[in-house]
């Protein structure tokens, strides 16, 4: 009967062993768990988790009424899919023992050996399972960020396949490159405190490619496409900002001074960018908007993500002030100019903001803030900016090419776009058989038809 345990908890591990991987690295008698750090990382993981429902609202408020459920659906399905994929396969691909600097080995398949003891390679004072869960939340939100680009038109079945492939073939390797012990970008010395490259560039660029491959929404030329519920968007932004404290401060992987620094720079950059986006609008068309302010805040959070634990508060102010006008320009001008239909600006904010952030990290990084990092351009080390640029290019190219291939492959199996009729009626009703709101006093509305 004991063998059942082995079957159940060891089956996939066995596959790993057969695959010739080393036995699990973690053993009893390893480093001790610290309760304070563990409390901090578990709560941070919960905070990062909440970002995806937050994003669902942020995005969901921006689409038209007839598509809001499709956004919420995609976010929740990602939460389910990536959670299961990560436990079975993703975690070991990303953080398992390095294979050739590009991918993790299959040793920890099915969380085999990832338990209550710490894994000193990543975080020596918290249970390995806590680290794995914290990292999972990053994988979820990254996949979810992309959907903003193809909102209001993607076929649900294609979306499911795309997500599963993308998280496995793009996210997991990239996370390994940047954060995995032995990953080549990590060895190169690229700085990415909490995922500017891994999370924001990868998803933003994937979004751009998806927007290009799928083409424009039908109604885009014909009628104004306006957010149907801005209070949802603002609430979503509030949850994102809140969760981002877990994202960035939690990336210190301990409740220490570095976490406090990351918390401080995160909040400061968000605040500064909210203000500078509003200012850009005020100057540009005379009225600061709340959609602008929350977009700015998100852009500020994006830009500081790679830098949060490497820069000081005044650098955070500058980074925030700088990034918002760039993103504003990208969404208001560049998008119209180049003519891609990135519905909710996944690329314009995460791709552009993430790129700006990765580069500025190479400018503002300061070993006086974090001796474990490197100095940036401003502190006498122009080389770091180069390294950052290399990492940016690698992430762009990798995400763009793989996303393109995945979409083409998925497109062979099932249409990438919903049918024209379905798009017209709205994805909520056509893909999911549901309607978001019942306003009427009599029962049983449908939607635009």
């Amino acid at each position: 009967m004991r063998s059942i345990r082995h079957w159940l908890t060891g089956a996939v591990g066995a596959i790993a062993l057969l695959a010739g991987a080393a036995p699990p690295a973690l053993a009893a008698g390893g480093p001790a768990v610290d309760a304070g750090d563990t409390a901090f990382i578990l709560v941070s993981a919960a905070l990062v988790f909440l970002m995806t429902p937050g994003l669902a609202l942020f995005y969901g408020g921006m689409v038209r009424r007839k598509n809001v459920l499709s956004i919420l659906m995609q976010c929740f399905v990602i939460m389910g899919l990536v959670s299961v994929q990560w436990v079975l396969l993703g975690y070991t691909l990303a953080f398992g023992p390095d294979l050739g600097h590009v991918i993790g080995g299959l040793d920890w398949l099915g969380m085999n050996g990832v338990g209550q003891a710490p894994n000193a390679d990543y975080a020596g004072t918290i249970p390995a399972a806590a680290f794995a869960m914290f990292q999972l939340m990053f994988a979820i939100i990254t996949a979810a960020l992309i959907i903003g680009a193809f909102a209001e038109r993607m076929n649900f079945a294609a979306f499911v396949l795309f997500t599963l492939l993308w998280t496995t073939l793009v996210y997991d390797p990239l996370a390994h490159w940047v954060w995995g012990v032995g990953g080549w970008l990590r060895e190169l010395g690229a700085l990415d405190f909490a995922g500017g490259t891994v999370v924001h560039i990868s998803s933003g660029v994937a979004g751009l490619v998806a927007a290009l491959v799928l083409g424009k929404r039908l109604s885009l030329q014909r009628e104004p496409v306006i957010p149907h519920n801005l209070p949802f968007t603002v609430l979503g932004a509030g949850l994102l900002w809140f969760g981002w404290f877990g994202f960035n401060a939690g990336s210190a992987l301990a409740a220490n001074g570095l976490a406090a620094t990351a918390f401080l720079t995160t909040n400061t950059a968000a605040g500064a960018a909210a203000l500078s986006w509003a200012l850009a609008e005020w100057l540009h068309h005379g009225k600061p908007t709340v959609l602008g302010v929350v977009s700015g805040a998100v852009a500020g959070l994006v830009v500081i993500t790679p830098a949060a634990g490497f820069v000081g508060p005044l650098s955070a102010v500058l980074m925030g002030l700088l990034v918002a006008p760039v993103c504003y320009w990208a969404v208001a001008w560049l998008k119209a100019r180049l003519g891609y239909d990135d519905s909710l600006d996944a690329f314009g904010i995460h791709g552009v903001g993430g790129t700006v952030g990765a580069l500025l990290t190479g400018v503002f990084a300061d070993t006086a803030v974090n001796p474990a990092g490197f100095d940036g351009l401003l502190f006498g080390n122009p080389h770091q900016l180069l390294v950052q640029a290399e990492a940016v290019v690698a992430a762009w190219v990798f995400s763009a090419v793989l996303t393109f291939i995945i979409l083409k492959a998925v497109g062979l199996l099932t249409p990438l776009r919903a049918s024209e009729d379905d798009e017209e009626v709205g994805l909520d009703l056509s893909q999911h058989g549901e309607v978001a709101y019942q306003y009427a006093d009599f029962a049983g509305e449908a939607h635009s038809a």
């Binding site: 306006i226 609008e281 009225k287 908007t289 602008g292 504003y328 208001a332 600006d345």
Partner: protein
């Protein structure tokens, strides 16, 4: 009997209700509509994309009344709802052939 349809500014509805109540005109049916006419819109902005509105929220007030009440009601509407600025709305008067009170089945003037 006639049906009067007044398309007015939402901010005038309360006042209009009160003014009509003074005339002892209580019965009416109202609902939100969007109107388009000479009125020029404020601009909206969403992430830098400008969007000029040419539909304005109005309220439609429908009143069925006896023929000789029509002018009196129009007068009240004009008094209360005219601000002098474009967008004040319109009054339309229609003929009507029958009225029934659902509760009792009464017809015609008795149903009002």
């Amino acid at each position: 009997m006639k049906k009067i349809e007044a398309i007015v500014r939402p901010s005038k509805v309360e006042e209009l209700k009160e003014a009509l109540a003074k005339l002892e005109v209580r019965g009416m049916t109202i609902f939100d509509v969007m109107g388009r006419g000479l009125q020029r819109g404020e601009k909206q902005y969403y992430r830098g994309k400008e969007h000029t509105v040419d539909l304005f929220p109005k309220v439609k007030v429908e009143l069925v009344c006896r023929d000789h009440w029509v002018e009196r009601i129009i007068e009240v509407i004009l008094k209360v709802c005219a601000t002098g600025e474009i967008g004040d709305g319109k009054i339309f008067v229609y003929p009507l052939e029958e009225i029934v009170r659902i509760r009792t089945g009464e017809r015609g003037e008795a149903a009002l």
